[in-house]
Symmetry: C2
Subunit: 299 residues, 2 copies
Protein backbone atom coordinates (compact mmCIF):
# COMPACT_ATOMS: atom_id res chain seq x y z
CA UNK A 1 0.00 0.00 0.00
CA UNK A 2 1.25 3.52 -0.77
CA UNK A 3 1.54 6.07 2.03
CA UNK A 4 -1.50 7.86 3.46
CA UNK A 5 -0.38 11.18 2.00
CA UNK A 6 0.11 9.70 -1.46
CA UNK A 7 -3.31 8.03 -1.47
CA UNK A 8 -4.99 11.18 -0.19
CA UNK A 9 -3.21 13.34 -2.78
CA UNK A 10 -4.26 10.97 -5.57
CA UNK A 11 -7.88 10.96 -4.38
CA UNK A 12 -7.96 14.77 -4.40
CA UNK A 13 -6.27 15.05 -7.78
CA UNK A 14 -8.56 12.44 -9.32
CA UNK A 15 -11.71 14.22 -8.12
CA UNK A 16 -10.20 17.68 -8.68
CA UNK A 17 -11.58 19.00 -5.38
CA UNK A 18 -10.51 19.44 -1.78
CA UNK A 19 -14.05 18.63 -0.61
CA UNK A 20 -14.68 15.80 1.83
CA UNK A 21 -18.29 14.71 2.37
CA UNK A 22 -19.23 14.05 5.98
CA UNK A 23 -21.74 11.40 7.02
CA UNK A 24 -23.58 12.61 10.14
CA UNK A 25 -26.80 10.60 9.77
CA UNK A 26 -29.74 11.54 11.95
CA UNK A 27 -33.08 9.77 11.79
CA UNK A 28 -35.20 12.90 11.99
CA UNK A 29 -33.41 14.50 9.01
CA UNK A 30 -33.64 11.49 6.69
CA UNK A 31 -35.93 11.65 3.64
CA UNK A 32 -39.49 10.84 4.62
CA UNK A 33 -39.78 8.27 1.81
CA UNK A 34 -36.73 6.45 3.06
CA UNK A 35 -38.05 6.47 6.65
CA UNK A 36 -41.36 5.08 5.41
CA UNK A 37 -39.62 2.30 3.51
CA UNK A 38 -38.34 0.76 6.77
CA UNK A 39 -41.66 0.98 8.66
CA UNK A 40 -41.84 -2.82 8.85
CA UNK A 41 -38.96 -2.89 11.38
CA UNK A 42 -39.32 -2.31 15.13
CA UNK A 43 -38.68 1.41 15.85
CA UNK A 44 -35.08 1.19 17.05
CA UNK A 45 -34.05 -1.11 14.18
CA UNK A 46 -35.90 1.16 11.75
CA UNK A 47 -33.37 3.93 12.34
CA UNK A 48 -30.46 1.53 11.88
CA UNK A 49 -31.84 0.23 8.58
CA UNK A 50 -32.68 3.70 7.29
CA UNK A 51 -29.26 5.11 8.20
CA UNK A 52 -27.56 2.24 6.41
CA UNK A 53 -29.66 2.75 3.28
CA UNK A 54 -29.13 6.51 3.40
CA UNK A 55 -25.35 6.30 3.77
CA UNK A 56 -25.11 3.63 1.08
CA UNK A 57 -26.98 5.89 -1.33
CA UNK A 58 -25.02 9.02 -0.40
CA UNK A 59 -21.77 7.18 -1.10
CA UNK A 60 -22.98 6.27 -4.60
CA UNK A 61 -24.31 9.78 -5.27
CA UNK A 62 -21.09 11.58 -4.32
CA UNK A 63 -18.68 9.00 -5.71
CA UNK A 64 -18.28 10.76 -9.09
CA UNK A 65 -17.74 14.09 -7.29
CA UNK A 66 -15.40 13.61 -4.29
CA UNK A 67 -12.60 11.26 -3.27
CA UNK A 68 -12.79 11.52 0.52
CA UNK A 69 -15.56 10.79 3.03
CA UNK A 70 -15.68 11.29 6.80
CA UNK A 71 -18.01 9.39 9.09
CA UNK A 72 -19.01 10.96 12.41
CA UNK A 73 -18.92 8.12 14.96
CA UNK A 74 -21.28 9.83 17.44
CA UNK A 75 -24.38 9.51 15.26
CA UNK A 76 -23.77 5.80 14.72
CA UNK A 77 -23.00 5.26 18.42
CA UNK A 78 -26.33 6.88 19.29
CA UNK A 79 -28.00 4.04 17.37
CA UNK A 80 -26.36 1.54 19.72
CA UNK A 81 -24.20 -1.48 18.86
CA UNK A 82 -26.20 -2.15 15.70
CA UNK A 83 -25.45 1.42 14.67
CA UNK A 84 -21.76 0.60 15.11
CA UNK A 85 -22.30 -2.39 12.83
CA UNK A 86 -23.69 0.01 10.22
CA UNK A 87 -20.70 2.29 10.75
CA UNK A 88 -18.36 -0.62 10.02
CA UNK A 89 -20.39 -1.53 6.93
CA UNK A 90 -20.48 2.07 5.66
CA UNK A 91 -16.71 2.39 6.06
CA UNK A 92 -16.12 -0.92 4.30
CA UNK A 93 -18.47 0.03 1.48
CA UNK A 94 -16.76 3.42 1.12
CA UNK A 95 -13.37 1.75 0.95
CA UNK A 96 -14.59 -0.69 -1.68
CA UNK A 97 -15.97 2.22 -3.70
CA UNK A 98 -12.47 3.74 -3.67
CA UNK A 99 -12.96 6.56 -1.18
CA UNK A 100 -10.32 7.66 1.30
CA UNK A 101 -12.13 7.09 4.61
CA UNK A 102 -11.81 9.21 7.75
CA UNK A 103 -13.37 8.11 11.02
CA UNK A 104 -14.19 11.21 13.01
CA UNK A 105 -14.32 9.56 16.44
CA UNK A 106 -12.03 11.99 18.30
CA UNK A 107 -10.44 9.22 20.32
CA UNK A 108 -7.82 9.85 22.95
CA UNK A 109 -6.44 7.75 25.79
CA UNK A 110 -3.11 6.55 27.16
CA UNK A 111 -0.77 3.59 26.75
CA UNK A 112 -2.39 0.25 25.91
CA UNK A 113 -5.83 1.88 25.76
CA UNK A 114 -4.68 4.29 23.05
CA UNK A 115 -3.16 1.29 21.26
CA UNK A 116 -6.52 -0.50 21.43
CA UNK A 117 -8.28 2.47 19.78
CA UNK A 118 -5.53 2.71 17.16
CA UNK A 119 -5.78 -1.01 16.41
CA UNK A 120 -9.57 -0.72 16.10
CA UNK A 121 -9.09 2.13 13.62
CA UNK A 122 -6.20 0.81 11.57
CA UNK A 123 -4.72 -2.63 12.07
CA UNK A 124 -7.53 -4.72 13.55
CA UNK A 125 -7.82 -7.00 16.53
CA UNK A 126 -5.42 -9.91 16.82
CA UNK A 127 -6.80 -13.08 18.41
CA UNK A 128 -4.65 -16.19 18.48
CA UNK A 129 -2.43 -14.81 15.71
CA UNK A 130 -5.30 -14.04 13.30
CA UNK A 131 -6.26 -10.42 12.75
CA UNK A 132 -9.79 -9.07 12.38
CA UNK A 133 -10.37 -5.58 11.01
CA UNK A 134 -12.69 -3.29 12.96
CA UNK A 135 -13.01 0.17 11.34
CA UNK A 136 -10.09 -0.24 8.95
CA UNK A 137 -10.05 3.43 7.95
CA UNK A 138 -7.45 5.57 6.24
CA UNK A 139 -7.46 8.14 9.03
CA UNK A 140 -8.78 8.83 12.52
CA UNK A 141 -9.30 12.10 14.44
CA UNK A 142 -7.55 12.26 17.84
CA UNK A 143 -7.63 14.49 20.95
CA UNK A 144 -4.28 16.00 22.06
CA UNK A 145 -4.93 16.82 25.73
CA UNK A 146 -3.41 13.65 27.21
CA UNK A 147 0.01 14.45 25.77
CA UNK A 148 2.94 12.68 24.19
CA UNK A 149 2.49 9.06 25.23
CA UNK A 150 -1.22 9.29 24.42
CA UNK A 151 -0.67 10.43 20.84
CA UNK A 152 2.29 8.21 20.03
CA UNK A 153 0.41 4.86 19.93
CA UNK A 154 -1.92 6.39 17.32
CA UNK A 155 0.99 7.81 15.32
CA UNK A 156 3.02 4.60 15.51
CA UNK A 157 0.13 2.33 14.52
CA UNK A 158 -0.80 4.71 11.69
CA UNK A 159 2.80 4.76 10.41
CA UNK A 160 3.18 0.99 10.52
CA UNK A 161 -0.01 0.51 8.53
CA UNK A 162 0.26 3.53 6.18
CA UNK A 163 -2.66 5.33 7.74
CA UNK A 164 -3.12 8.89 8.96
CA UNK A 165 -4.06 10.70 12.15
CA UNK A 166 -5.70 14.13 12.41
CA UNK A 167 -5.01 15.79 15.75
CA UNK A 168 -7.39 18.50 17.00
CA UNK A 169 -5.48 21.79 16.90
CA UNK A 170 -7.87 24.74 16.49
CA UNK A 171 -11.53 23.83 16.16
CA UNK A 172 -14.46 25.59 14.51
CA UNK A 173 -16.86 25.96 17.44
CA UNK A 174 -17.58 29.35 19.04
CA UNK A 175 -16.33 28.19 22.47
CA UNK A 176 -13.10 26.62 21.15
CA UNK A 177 -10.95 29.42 22.51
CA UNK A 178 -11.62 28.68 26.20
CA UNK A 179 -8.48 26.53 26.35
CA UNK A 180 -7.10 26.51 22.79
CA UNK A 181 -6.44 30.26 22.79
CA UNK A 182 -4.91 30.48 26.29
CA UNK A 183 -1.60 32.29 26.17
CA UNK A 184 1.11 29.78 27.10
CA UNK A 185 4.45 31.56 27.23
CA UNK A 186 3.71 34.04 24.45
CA UNK A 187 1.74 31.84 22.11
CA UNK A 188 -1.68 30.24 22.27
CA UNK A 189 -2.07 26.63 23.41
CA UNK A 190 -3.12 25.50 19.94
CA UNK A 191 0.26 26.59 18.57
CA UNK A 192 1.98 24.34 21.10
CA UNK A 193 -0.23 21.50 19.89
CA UNK A 194 0.59 22.51 16.30
CA UNK A 195 4.32 22.36 17.07
CA UNK A 196 3.92 18.84 18.46
CA UNK A 197 1.95 17.81 15.38
CA UNK A 198 4.77 19.17 13.24
CA UNK A 199 7.33 17.07 15.15
CA UNK A 200 5.28 13.86 14.94
CA UNK A 201 4.58 14.51 11.27
CA UNK A 202 8.18 15.29 10.28
CA UNK A 203 9.41 11.73 9.96
CA UNK A 204 6.38 10.66 7.91
CA UNK A 205 6.75 13.23 5.13
CA UNK A 206 7.00 11.52 1.74
CA UNK A 207 7.54 12.80 -1.79
CA UNK A 208 4.18 14.60 -1.73
CA UNK A 209 5.94 16.94 0.71
CA UNK A 210 3.26 16.08 3.26
CA UNK A 211 2.98 13.49 6.03
CA UNK A 212 0.65 11.20 7.93
CA UNK A 213 0.06 13.29 11.07
CA UNK A 214 -2.44 15.99 10.21
CA UNK A 215 -4.23 18.77 12.06
CA UNK A 216 -7.91 19.59 12.49
CA UNK A 217 -8.30 23.34 11.94
CA UNK A 218 -11.74 24.94 11.75
CA UNK A 219 -12.99 26.75 8.65
CA UNK A 220 -14.42 29.50 10.83
CA UNK A 221 -10.92 30.68 11.84
CA UNK A 222 -9.39 32.03 8.59
CA UNK A 223 -6.68 33.99 10.40
CA UNK A 224 -5.57 30.99 12.45
CA UNK A 225 -5.81 28.82 9.35
CA UNK A 226 -3.41 31.08 7.45
CA UNK A 227 -0.98 31.23 10.35
CA UNK A 228 -1.06 27.47 10.88
CA UNK A 229 -0.50 26.85 7.15
CA UNK A 230 2.70 28.89 7.45
CA UNK A 231 3.79 27.13 10.63
CA UNK A 232 3.00 23.64 9.31
CA UNK A 233 3.89 23.55 5.61
CA UNK A 234 4.13 19.74 5.55
CA UNK A 235 0.99 18.93 7.53
CA UNK A 236 -2.37 17.90 6.08
CA UNK A 237 -5.31 19.94 7.41
CA UNK A 238 -8.76 18.52 7.94
CA UNK A 239 -11.02 21.56 7.91
CA UNK A 240 -14.49 21.18 9.43
CA UNK A 241 -17.05 23.95 9.79
CA UNK A 242 -17.50 24.64 6.07
CA UNK A 243 -21.04 25.57 4.98
CA UNK A 244 -23.64 25.19 7.72
CA UNK A 245 -21.15 26.12 10.46
CA UNK A 246 -20.36 29.40 8.65
CA UNK A 247 -16.97 28.89 6.96
CA UNK A 248 -16.82 30.05 3.31
CA UNK A 249 -14.65 29.06 0.35
CA UNK A 250 -12.69 32.30 0.80
CA UNK A 251 -12.16 31.48 4.49
CA UNK A 252 -10.62 28.09 3.76
CA UNK A 253 -8.47 29.08 0.77
CA UNK A 254 -5.52 29.68 3.07
CA UNK A 255 -5.57 26.02 4.15
CA UNK A 256 -4.36 24.81 0.75
CA UNK A 257 -0.90 24.79 -0.75
CA UNK A 258 -0.56 26.56 -4.11
CA UNK A 259 -0.89 23.15 -5.88
CA UNK A 260 -4.29 22.58 -4.21
CA UNK A 261 -3.05 19.83 -1.90
CA UNK A 262 -2.49 20.03 1.87
CA UNK A 263 -6.11 20.30 2.99
CA UNK A 264 -9.46 18.58 2.86
CA UNK A 265 -12.53 20.62 3.69
CA UNK A 266 -15.45 18.77 5.18
CA UNK A 267 -19.09 19.50 4.55
CA UNK A 268 -21.63 17.26 6.25
CA UNK A 269 -25.14 18.64 6.63
CA UNK A 270 -24.57 21.23 3.86
CA UNK A 271 -24.33 18.35 1.37
CA UNK A 272 -26.11 15.34 2.81
CA UNK A 273 -29.05 17.23 4.35
CA UNK A 274 -29.46 19.82 1.60
CA UNK A 275 -33.12 18.83 1.10
CA UNK A 276 -36.39 19.01 3.01
CA UNK A 277 -37.34 15.57 4.38
CA UNK A 278 -40.55 15.67 2.31
CA UNK A 279 -38.70 16.33 -0.95
CA UNK A 280 -38.95 13.25 -3.20
CA UNK A 281 -36.03 14.63 -5.24
CA UNK A 282 -33.64 14.45 -2.28
CA UNK A 283 -31.04 12.47 -4.19
CA UNK A 284 -30.63 15.08 -6.90
CA UNK A 285 -30.46 17.78 -4.20
CA UNK A 286 -27.48 15.97 -2.66
CA UNK A 287 -25.78 15.74 -6.05
CA UNK A 288 -26.33 19.45 -6.72
CA UNK A 289 -25.05 20.45 -3.27
CA UNK A 290 -22.02 18.18 -3.56
CA UNK A 291 -21.18 19.50 -7.04
CA UNK A 292 -21.52 23.09 -5.88
CA UNK A 293 -19.30 22.57 -2.84
CA UNK A 294 -16.78 20.57 -4.90
CA UNK A 295 -16.67 23.39 -7.45
CA UNK A 296 -16.08 26.02 -4.75
CA UNK A 297 -13.14 23.92 -3.55
CA UNK A 298 -11.79 23.01 -6.99
CA UNK A 299 -8.02 22.59 -6.90
CA UNK B 1 -33.89 9.22 40.79
CA UNK B 2 -31.61 10.87 43.38
CA UNK B 3 -28.69 13.00 42.16
CA UNK B 4 -25.49 11.48 40.82
CA UNK B 5 -23.51 12.69 43.82
CA UNK B 6 -26.01 11.22 46.28
CA UNK B 7 -26.06 7.84 44.54
CA UNK B 8 -22.26 7.78 44.31
CA UNK B 9 -21.90 8.76 47.98
CA UNK B 10 -24.31 6.02 49.02
CA UNK B 11 -22.49 3.40 46.95
CA UNK B 12 -19.18 4.34 48.58
CA UNK B 13 -20.62 4.42 52.09
CA UNK B 14 -22.38 1.09 51.60
CA UNK B 15 -19.20 -0.65 50.42
CA UNK B 16 -16.99 1.33 52.80
CA UNK B 17 -14.31 1.91 50.18
CA UNK B 18 -13.32 4.50 47.59
CA UNK B 19 -12.22 1.75 45.20
CA UNK B 20 -13.68 1.51 41.70
CA UNK B 21 -12.99 -1.67 39.73
CA UNK B 22 -12.11 -1.10 36.08
CA UNK B 23 -13.05 -3.49 33.31
CA UNK B 24 -10.35 -3.41 30.63
CA UNK B 25 -10.87 -6.88 29.13
CA UNK B 26 -8.20 -8.23 26.80
CA UNK B 27 -8.42 -11.64 25.21
CA UNK B 28 -4.76 -12.56 25.77
CA UNK B 29 -5.00 -11.87 29.51
CA UNK B 30 -8.18 -13.87 30.13
CA UNK B 31 -8.00 -17.11 32.12
CA UNK B 32 -6.96 -19.99 29.88
CA UNK B 33 -9.87 -22.11 31.09
CA UNK B 34 -12.34 -19.44 30.12
CA UNK B 35 -10.71 -19.02 26.72
CA UNK B 36 -10.91 -22.76 26.16
CA UNK B 37 -14.59 -22.83 27.11
CA UNK B 38 -15.48 -20.73 24.05
CA UNK B 39 -13.38 -22.71 21.55
CA UNK B 40 -16.52 -23.78 19.69
CA UNK B 41 -17.04 -20.25 18.37
CA UNK B 42 -15.30 -18.78 15.30
CA UNK B 43 -12.15 -16.93 16.49
CA UNK B 44 -13.47 -13.36 16.42
CA UNK B 45 -16.71 -14.31 18.20
CA UNK B 46 -14.69 -16.36 20.68
CA UNK B 47 -13.17 -13.21 22.13
CA UNK B 48 -16.57 -11.53 22.35
CA UNK B 49 -18.08 -14.49 24.19
CA UNK B 50 -15.13 -14.85 26.54
CA UNK B 51 -15.06 -11.14 27.38
CA UNK B 52 -18.76 -11.20 28.18
CA UNK B 53 -18.38 -14.23 30.44
CA UNK B 54 -15.31 -12.74 32.12
CA UNK B 55 -16.93 -9.36 32.82
CA UNK B 56 -20.11 -11.02 34.05
CA UNK B 57 -18.11 -13.08 36.51
CA UNK B 58 -15.95 -10.17 37.65
CA UNK B 59 -19.08 -8.15 38.41
CA UNK B 60 -20.39 -10.94 40.65
CA UNK B 61 -17.02 -11.45 42.33
CA UNK B 62 -16.50 -7.80 43.26
CA UNK B 63 -20.13 -6.99 44.04
CA UNK B 64 -19.76 -7.65 47.80
CA UNK B 65 -16.58 -5.52 47.85
CA UNK B 66 -17.08 -2.34 45.78
CA UNK B 67 -19.95 -0.11 44.71
CA UNK B 68 -18.55 1.44 41.54
CA UNK B 69 -17.30 -0.05 38.28
CA UNK B 70 -15.71 1.60 35.26
CA UNK B 71 -15.73 0.07 31.78
CA UNK B 72 -12.98 1.07 29.35
CA UNK B 73 -14.73 1.50 25.97
CA UNK B 74 -11.56 0.99 23.90
CA UNK B 75 -11.20 -2.71 24.69
CA UNK B 76 -14.81 -3.40 23.74
CA UNK B 77 -14.51 -1.28 20.59
CA UNK B 78 -11.48 -3.35 19.56
CA UNK B 79 -13.80 -6.38 19.48
CA UNK B 80 -15.95 -4.62 16.88
CA UNK B 81 -19.70 -3.91 16.95
CA UNK B 82 -20.37 -7.18 18.77
CA UNK B 83 -17.92 -6.03 21.40
CA UNK B 84 -20.00 -2.86 21.76
CA UNK B 85 -23.02 -5.11 22.27
CA UNK B 86 -21.16 -6.81 25.10
CA UNK B 87 -20.26 -3.40 26.52
CA UNK B 88 -23.96 -2.45 26.58
CA UNK B 89 -24.81 -5.79 28.21
CA UNK B 90 -22.04 -5.46 30.83
CA UNK B 91 -23.19 -1.95 31.74
CA UNK B 92 -26.80 -3.07 31.98
CA UNK B 93 -25.86 -6.06 34.09
CA UNK B 94 -23.74 -3.87 36.38
CA UNK B 95 -26.61 -1.45 36.80
CA UNK B 96 -29.00 -4.29 37.65
CA UNK B 97 -26.51 -5.57 40.21
CA UNK B 98 -26.63 -2.15 41.88
CA UNK B 99 -23.25 -0.74 40.82
CA UNK B 100 -22.67 2.89 39.96
CA UNK B 101 -21.45 2.61 36.35
CA UNK B 102 -18.83 4.79 34.69
CA UNK B 103 -18.18 4.57 30.96
CA UNK B 104 -14.58 5.55 30.36
CA UNK B 105 -14.94 6.48 26.70
CA UNK B 106 -13.24 9.90 26.83
CA UNK B 107 -15.69 11.42 24.36
CA UNK B 108 -15.44 14.99 23.16
CA UNK B 109 -16.99 16.84 20.25
CA UNK B 110 -18.99 19.99 19.53
CA UNK B 111 -22.64 21.05 19.34
CA UNK B 112 -25.09 18.42 18.11
CA UNK B 113 -22.31 15.81 17.93
CA UNK B 114 -21.52 16.26 21.62
CA UNK B 115 -25.25 16.01 22.31
CA UNK B 116 -25.37 12.70 20.40
CA UNK B 117 -22.57 11.26 22.56
CA UNK B 118 -24.26 12.56 25.71
CA UNK B 119 -27.57 11.05 24.68
CA UNK B 120 -25.87 7.73 23.96
CA UNK B 121 -24.34 7.82 27.43
CA UNK B 122 -27.28 9.08 29.47
CA UNK B 123 -30.69 9.67 27.99
CA UNK B 124 -30.89 7.33 25.01
CA UNK B 125 -31.87 7.76 21.38
CA UNK B 126 -35.29 9.19 20.58
CA UNK B 127 -36.98 7.84 17.46
CA UNK B 128 -40.53 8.93 16.68
CA UNK B 129 -41.07 9.99 20.30
CA UNK B 130 -39.94 6.68 21.83
CA UNK B 131 -36.58 6.58 23.60
CA UNK B 132 -34.07 3.72 23.44
CA UNK B 133 -31.23 3.57 25.96
CA UNK B 134 -27.72 3.00 24.61
CA UNK B 135 -25.07 2.94 27.36
CA UNK B 136 -27.35 4.31 30.10
CA UNK B 137 -24.47 4.87 32.54
CA UNK B 138 -24.21 6.95 35.69
CA UNK B 139 -21.16 8.83 34.42
CA UNK B 140 -18.99 9.37 31.35
CA UNK B 141 -15.41 10.62 30.96
CA UNK B 142 -14.99 13.64 28.65
CA UNK B 143 -12.12 15.51 26.94
CA UNK B 144 -11.87 19.27 27.64
CA UNK B 145 -9.80 20.52 24.67
CA UNK B 146 -12.74 21.62 22.48
CA UNK B 147 -13.89 24.16 25.05
CA UNK B 148 -17.08 25.53 26.51
CA UNK B 149 -19.71 24.64 23.93
CA UNK B 150 -18.23 21.15 23.63
CA UNK B 151 -18.51 20.38 27.35
CA UNK B 152 -21.90 21.99 27.94
CA UNK B 153 -24.03 19.45 26.04
CA UNK B 154 -22.51 16.72 28.24
CA UNK B 155 -23.07 18.73 31.42
CA UNK B 156 -26.62 19.72 30.46
CA UNK B 157 -27.68 16.20 29.48
CA UNK B 158 -26.09 14.80 32.64
CA UNK B 159 -27.89 17.38 34.81
CA UNK B 160 -31.26 16.74 33.21
CA UNK B 161 -30.95 13.01 33.76
CA UNK B 162 -29.17 13.02 37.14
CA UNK B 163 -25.94 11.66 35.72
CA UNK B 164 -22.32 12.72 36.09
CA UNK B 165 -19.45 13.78 33.86
CA UNK B 166 -15.72 13.39 34.64
CA UNK B 167 -13.60 15.86 32.70
CA UNK B 168 -9.93 15.08 32.09
CA UNK B 169 -7.91 17.54 34.16
CA UNK B 170 -4.49 16.07 35.09
CA UNK B 171 -3.86 12.54 33.89
CA UNK B 172 -1.63 9.77 35.20
CA UNK B 173 0.53 9.05 32.16
CA UNK B 174 4.23 10.04 32.04
CA UNK B 175 3.72 12.29 28.98
CA UNK B 176 0.66 14.08 30.39
CA UNK B 177 2.58 17.28 31.07
CA UNK B 178 3.31 18.09 27.41
CA UNK B 179 0.20 20.29 27.27
CA UNK B 180 -1.43 19.94 30.71
CA UNK B 181 1.53 21.51 32.52
CA UNK B 182 2.12 24.39 30.08
CA UNK B 183 2.29 27.67 31.94
CA UNK B 184 -0.72 29.76 30.85
CA UNK B 185 -0.50 33.17 32.50
CA UNK B 186 1.11 31.98 35.73
CA UNK B 187 -0.68 28.67 36.19
CA UNK B 188 -0.60 25.38 34.35
CA UNK B 189 -3.21 24.58 31.70
CA UNK B 190 -4.75 21.89 33.88
CA UNK B 191 -5.62 24.49 36.51
CA UNK B 192 -7.53 26.47 33.90
CA UNK B 193 -9.43 23.29 33.05
CA UNK B 194 -9.95 22.72 36.78
CA UNK B 195 -11.40 26.21 37.16
CA UNK B 196 -13.85 25.55 34.34
CA UNK B 197 -14.83 22.22 35.95
CA UNK B 198 -15.45 24.09 39.19
CA UNK B 199 -17.75 26.58 37.43
CA UNK B 200 -19.74 23.87 35.63
CA UNK B 201 -19.95 21.85 38.82
CA UNK B 202 -21.06 24.73 41.06
CA UNK B 203 -24.73 24.70 40.16
CA UNK B 204 -25.00 20.93 40.54
CA UNK B 205 -23.75 20.73 44.14
CA UNK B 206 -26.32 19.02 46.34
CA UNK B 207 -26.48 18.30 50.08
CA UNK B 208 -23.54 15.90 49.82
CA UNK B 209 -21.52 19.08 49.25
CA UNK B 210 -20.40 17.66 45.93
CA UNK B 211 -21.71 17.93 42.37
CA UNK B 212 -22.18 16.14 39.06
CA UNK B 213 -19.21 17.54 37.11
CA UNK B 214 -16.11 15.72 38.27
CA UNK B 215 -12.43 15.73 37.36
CA UNK B 216 -10.08 12.96 36.26
CA UNK B 217 -6.85 13.37 38.23
CA UNK B 218 -4.11 10.75 38.06
CA UNK B 219 -2.94 8.82 41.12
CA UNK B 220 0.66 9.27 40.02
CA UNK B 221 0.54 13.02 40.70
CA UNK B 222 0.11 13.29 44.50
CA UNK B 223 1.22 16.93 44.62
CA UNK B 224 -1.22 17.98 41.90
CA UNK B 225 -3.90 15.85 43.54
CA UNK B 226 -3.52 17.69 46.84
CA UNK B 227 -3.52 21.08 45.16
CA UNK B 228 -6.58 20.25 43.07
CA UNK B 229 -8.43 18.96 46.15
CA UNK B 230 -7.91 22.39 47.71
CA UNK B 231 -8.95 24.24 44.55
CA UNK B 232 -12.01 22.06 43.95
CA UNK B 233 -13.54 21.20 47.33
CA UNK B 234 -16.95 20.37 45.81
CA UNK B 235 -15.75 18.31 42.85
CA UNK B 236 -15.70 14.50 42.64
CA UNK B 237 -12.35 13.09 41.52
CA UNK B 238 -12.00 9.97 39.43
CA UNK B 239 -8.45 8.82 40.09
CA UNK B 240 -6.88 6.38 37.60
CA UNK B 241 -3.34 5.07 37.74
CA UNK B 242 -3.65 3.27 41.07
CA UNK B 243 -1.73 0.01 41.35
CA UNK B 244 -0.18 -1.15 38.10
CA UNK B 245 0.39 2.43 36.89
CA UNK B 246 2.36 3.19 40.05
CA UNK B 247 0.05 5.24 42.30
CA UNK B 248 -0.08 4.08 45.95
CA UNK B 249 -2.70 4.42 48.70
CA UNK B 250 -0.57 7.15 50.30
CA UNK B 251 -0.42 8.98 46.96
CA UNK B 252 -4.18 9.09 46.59
CA UNK B 253 -5.10 9.91 50.20
CA UNK B 254 -5.14 13.63 49.35
CA UNK B 255 -7.94 13.06 46.84
CA UNK B 256 -10.46 12.30 49.58
CA UNK B 257 -12.36 14.65 51.87
CA UNK B 258 -11.97 13.94 55.59
CA UNK B 259 -15.28 11.99 55.53
CA UNK B 260 -13.89 9.64 52.86
CA UNK B 261 -16.08 11.00 50.06
CA UNK B 262 -15.03 13.15 47.12
CA UNK B 263 -12.99 10.58 45.20
CA UNK B 264 -13.13 7.19 43.59
CA UNK B 265 -9.87 5.45 42.84
CA UNK B 266 -9.83 3.09 39.91
CA UNK B 267 -7.89 -0.15 39.69
CA UNK B 268 -8.27 -2.19 36.53
CA UNK B 269 -5.53 -4.69 35.77
CA UNK B 270 -4.36 -4.70 39.41
CA UNK B 271 -7.65 -6.34 40.37
CA UNK B 272 -9.09 -8.05 37.31
CA UNK B 273 -5.80 -9.43 35.95
CA UNK B 274 -4.21 -10.27 39.29
CA UNK B 275 -3.70 -13.90 38.21
CA UNK B 276 -1.64 -15.86 35.70
CA UNK B 277 -3.82 -16.98 32.75
CA UNK B 278 -3.00 -20.61 33.59
CA UNK B 279 -4.16 -20.26 37.21
CA UNK B 280 -7.37 -22.28 37.73
CA UNK B 281 -7.97 -20.27 40.94
CA UNK B 282 -8.27 -17.00 39.04
CA UNK B 283 -11.60 -16.09 40.59
CA UNK B 284 -10.31 -16.21 44.15
CA UNK B 285 -7.27 -14.18 43.05
CA UNK B 286 -9.60 -11.43 41.84
CA UNK B 287 -11.49 -11.48 45.14
CA UNK B 288 -8.27 -11.27 47.14
CA UNK B 289 -6.90 -8.42 45.01
CA UNK B 290 -10.21 -6.52 45.17
CA UNK B 291 -10.43 -6.95 48.96
CA UNK B 292 -6.86 -5.79 49.41
CA UNK B 293 -7.33 -2.70 47.24
CA UNK B 294 -10.69 -1.96 48.89
CA UNK B 295 -9.03 -2.21 52.30
CA UNK B 296 -6.23 0.16 51.30
CA UNK B 297 -8.89 2.67 50.24
CA UNK B 298 -11.25 2.10 53.17
CA UNK B 299 -13.15 5.28 54.05
Amino acid sequence: MSTFSTRLSEAIQRSGTGLCVGLDPRWELLPRKLRESVAIFPPDQKAVMAVWEFCRRVLRLVRPIVGVIKAQAAFFELLGPRGMEVLAAVLKEAKQLGFITILDAKRGDIASTATAYAQAAFSGNTIDRATYPVWDVDALTVHPYLGADAIEPFVETAKTHDRGVFILVRTSNPGAGLFQDLDCGGKPLYEHVAAAVSRWNAETVDDTGLGAVGAVVGATQPRELRKLRELLPQVWFLVPGYGTQGGTAADVRAAFRPDGLGAIVNSSRGVTFSFHPDDPEWESKIVVAAKLAAEELRI
